[in-house]
């Protein structure tokens, strides 16, 4: 696939369809890939990469890139196309300035999961029939391939691209919630007692170092100046003073992206403390599905979002009491 992408990129640069390409750039190791914009065929030949570790969603960069001179080629995985569409819908991306080439998705791998096994000194990673062979400074190590799969790919919601100008490879299908299991953990949390749930979240959120990586990577978080960064907002907060503030940052953020979060999984992927932030967002997605009918943010660019719309069938505020707190 990487080769087909490189050829496609060079062709579109050469024929003038685009003047830049956004993709991924090779790093020092096998896994440290950086999203990057390429302007020439030479740059692409030297550093362009698409492999097991190119998990980063480049859609958010297109907010800025699509406002520059000329058209940019973006390679988008199925999940990335939902973020892209949502940003087009919110008038953040200028659609006509992006040439979207859909590429197959993952599963991508998570270097942190390999390291969590105690495997260190990683020099190379190869998948051989379901076994990951890892070349390290301390000799070869192995682990089951599926145990190294990135969290967001384990519960992939769609192998179908919701937007593209051109497609490389086969188109896939939307994956049902039953098949993806993406709400299983949310259900587990719902079935806990309030105290158990509180304890679960306190344990997770108390690890937060408030680095803002989750917010800054999030394609649904594109405010020019976040309330938490703005001293004039009255709630600016660079570090959580106590557990209340620690919880609030995440809960407020989850509310703010509700109905717009496409479940791209970037927040949990980038968290240095492995906090399962996606579970907060998935709870909102699940509730929106239940209260307002099935809805997938980013699926299209025209429909009204359930939380921005009024319908006679909408749930009543009293639902809160009916459902109870326990």
């Amino acid at each position: 696939m990487q080769e087909a992408m490189i050829n496609k990129a060079k062709q579109l640069l050469a024929d003038g369809t685009v003047n830049r390409v956004i993709g991924w750039k090779r790093g020092e190791f096998v896994y440290d890939i950086t999203p990057a914009v390429f302007e020439t065929a030479e740059e692409i030949d030297a550093d362009f990469v698409c492999d097991d570790f190119t998990a980063a969603n480049v859609s958010k960069y297109l907010v800025k890139e699509s406002r520059k001179e000329g058209k940019i080629l973006a390679f988008l995985k199925p999940c990335d196309t939902y973020s892209f569409n949502q940003l087009v819908k919110e008038h953040r991306i200028v659609r006509e300035n992006v040439y979207v080439v859909g590429i197959p998705g993952g599963p991508k791998l998570d270097a942190e999961k390999i390291k969590a096994k105690g495997i260190t000194g990683i020099l190379g990673v190869k998948n051989e029939n379901g076994t990951l062979k890892i070349d390290t400074l301390y000799g070869e190590e192995t682990m089951p391939y599926y145990e190294a799969i990135l969290g967001k790919c384990e519960t992939c919601k769609s192998r179908k691209h919701v937007v593209y100008d051109e497609l490389l490879g086969e188109e896939g299908e939307v994956i049902s919630a039953e098949d993806s299991g993406r709400f299983d953990m949310v259900e587990k949390l719902e079935n806990m007692t309030a105290q158990e749930r509180y304890d679960f979240w306190r344990e997770q959120l108390s690890k937060c170092i408030r680095c803002n990586a989750c917010r800054n990577v999030c394609p649904a978080c594109t405010c020019e100046n976040c309330v938490f960064d703005n001293p004039a907002s009255g709630i600016s907060n660079k570090a959580a003073a106590d557990s209340f503030e620690e919880n609030m940052f995440h809960i407020i953020r989850a509310f703010h992206v509700a109905g717009r979060c496409t479940d791209c999984g970037e927040c949990s992927r980038v968290c240095p403390q492995n906090i399962p932030l996606h579970l907060l967002n998935r709870k909102f997605i699940k509730d929106i599905n239940a209260f307002y009918g099935e809805y997938q943010a980013g699926e299209d660019t025209t429909s009204r979002a359930p939380l921005n719309n009024y319908d006679k069938d909408d749930c009543e505020p009293s639902i809160v009491h009916e459902r109870g707190v326990e």
């Binding site: 790093g27 020092e28 190791f29 896994y31 440290d32 890939i33 950086t34 999203p35 990057a36 914009v37 980063a56 960069y61 270097a111 942190e112 999961k113 390291k115 969590a116 096994k117 105690g118 260190t120 000194g121 990683i122 020099l123 400074l137 301390y138 690890k207 170092i209 408030r210 680095c211 803002n212 990586a213 917010r215 800054n216 990577v217 100046n225 960064d229 001293p231 660079k238 570090a239 959580a240 003073a241 992927r269 980038v270 240095p272 403390q273 492995n274």
Partner: protein, 339 residues
């Protein structure tokens, strides 16, 4: 050399904890390590290093500095400092141990930061030599030998014993207090372990990275380098690299209005943030390029310029593994050096 069998680690930790609060790296359920207060049942992590560095003990993410109470035109200033307790941090790696020296150069010079100073005085650092360096480690670039860590007490492991050597009075005092547990023993197997580690160190992918092309004489050349645009292009402007870094030292001071008075606190800040060093006229670094450049220029040029050539990085590799876009000081160094 003084040593104790690793099987007796719990006795050792209990003996330390009986005198002072003991913190050590412990495993978390997600496979990463973090410093925890030792109590019965807490096991020393086998991981190479913690996600958060050991700087937290001396320079915590948030701390209250003072409180103000207003009554009419009278303002009462309340000192909120509590008496610090003595504590021991066990298992600090050589890179983090060196970072304390770097922080000292910021906080212990005139005007001395007494909050920091108090904690430094009360803390005893017991280091732990590395035996399994990771691909992201490049402490050697900064002249750090991970097989000979600094600290008040240096500690080594050969898999069967922990070996100890005191480097300061504070460290000697700690070892003296543990004398009934420690015995003198020979270091043959430890020497083998060290030799093996040295072989690995020579093979690390970043073993050849050098600071030769960095320092104060590079100020103008690097500051105006055209490379920053590309390097900073996809930076998210988050604080991950800064907050996991053992040597990042910047903070913000804010006032929190409680409704009854003011709580003045300080918290870590990041030069990657849009409101970093914001002043009445606004922010001196308007774009992410300038903020990004600040972080690396500080470590590779400004800090050595002000501190006899000492760099502001210890090569711990945390920013290499934690940056969400995998952009980091090594990539910056390599790009700047390239003509």
């Amino acid at each position: 050399m003084l040593r104790i069998s690793i099987d007796r680690a719990d006795e050792l930790f209990a003996a330390i904890a009986a005198q002072q609060t003991l913190y050590l790296p412990a495993d978390r359920e997600d496979g990463q390590a973090e410093y925890k207060k030792w109590e019965e049942g807490v096991k020393l992590s086998g991981r190479l290093n913690t996600v958060r560095s050991a700087k937290d003990f001396f320079f915590p993410q948030t701390e209250n500095l003072a409180e103000f109470k207003m009554e009419g035109k009278k303002i009462e200033v309340i000192d909120v400092r509590r008496e610090s307790e003595d504590f021991v941090i066990f298992g600090v790696r050589a890179c983090d141990a060196r970072s304390f020296g770097i922080l000292d150069k910021v906080y212990l010079v005139d005007p001395v930061d007494t909050f920091y100073q108090t904690r430094r005085e009360h803390g005893t650092v017991v280091t732990m030599a590395c035996t399994r360096p990771a691909e992201t480690c490049f402490c050697q670039t900064f002249g750090i030998d991970p097989t000979e860590p600094e600290g008040d007490v240096s500690c080594w492991s050969d898999g069967s014993f922990y070996y100890f050597k005191a480097n300061t009075d504070k460290g000697q005092k700690l070892l003296n207090s543990l004398s009934s547990l420690l015995e003198d023993g020979d270091t043959a197997t430890l020497d083998e372990t060290k030799a093996k580690t040295k072989e690995i160190l020579a093979k690390l992918p970043l073993a050849k990275l050098s600071t030769e092309n960095f320092g104060c004489d590079k100020l103008n050349e690097y500051f105006s380098s055209a490379k920053w645009a590309e390097l900073s292009e996809s930076c998210l402007g988050c604080g991950t690299c800064t907050f996991v870094c053992p040597t990042c030292q910047c903070y913000d001071i804010r006032d929190f209005d409680t409704g009854h008075g003011i709580k003045r606190f300080r918290c870590w800040d990041s030069c990657m943030y849009s409101d970093f060093t914001k002043m009445a006229h606004g922010n001196p670094r308007l774009t992410q390029l300038e903020r990004f450049r600040q972080r690396f220029m500080h470590k590779l040029v400004y800090f050595p310029a002000n501190n006899n050539g000492e760099f502001g990085c210890v090569g711990c590799g945390r920013c290499l593994s934690k940056c969400p876009i995998s952009m980091n000081i090594v990539k910056v160094m390599k790009a700047l050096e390239e003509k």
